[in-house]
Subunit: 136 residues, 2 copies
């Protein structure tokens, strides 16, 4: 085995930020499904616990992947949106989607989406970026 140092390994760096069962699902909710509010994430389907959700949102914000702002149109809630750093996870998400669509016999991803991933990926990713205005 090669004599690679494990400190500063980029895979480890990433996993320390979103390498758990829930963080990447929350990023999926925000980036791909357009989720904005706490209840969106709670109701996303996988059944995350409310305490875990609160903890993960805090971590994601602390790591600069998302920002939390008071919703001025309804001050009971906050709007969660991705930062540039968060948005740039989309290409990785796309690779994961392509892999899963290939190997999940019950995949819900439609063929036209996979086709676009293969032939028109840049535009697809750009369309997702365009939905958000970048914030620090």
């Amino acid at each position: 085995m090669e004599d690679t140092r494990s400190t500063n390994c980029p895979i480890l760096f990433a996993l320390d930020i979103f390498g758990d069962k829930w963080s990447l699902l929350i990023m999926r909710d925000i980036l791909i499904r357009g989720g904005k509010y706490y209840k969106d994430f709670l109701g996303a389907g996988e059944g995350i616990s409310t305490n875990i959700l609160a903890n993960r949102l805090e971590q994601l914000e602390r790591h600069g992947l998302i920002v939390k702002q008071l919703d001025e149109t309804n001050k009971r809630r906050f709007v969660y949106s991705p930062t540039q750093k968060g948005m740039e996870l989309v290409p990785a998400l796309m690779e994961i989607i392509e892999w899963s669509a290939k190997y999940d016999p019950d995949t819900g991803t439609p063929p036209w989406y996979i086709e676009r991933l293969k032939t028109d990926r840049e535009a697809l990713i750009q369309e997702i970026y365009d939905q958000f205005q970048t914030r620090e």
Copy 2:
């Protein structure tokens, strides 16, 4: 938020297979560092516990990402190698590496590697594939 069904979500499918702290690090050891044996993974640097490692190798094999074969040159050990399904995680790993190299101020990834990722990705990935002979 869009009315997407969470069943059959490709991100969830993937996370159910390698969405924990260790599985993707093991795949990194195999795919990128050329690790083959139990002790390679134990000594990879992050300090995985031996019981957890045994459990994850079993899961990865059960999900068809790796195969385990007796090493005929030294029958005390087994050779772990990636399947086609496992190898095809490389593109996702590359996206994660690119993301981490950009956002980790202490990244250990050399600039020439990032440059190659951007300008010559296909060949880089192919070189990794070529190191393994495909097995079911």
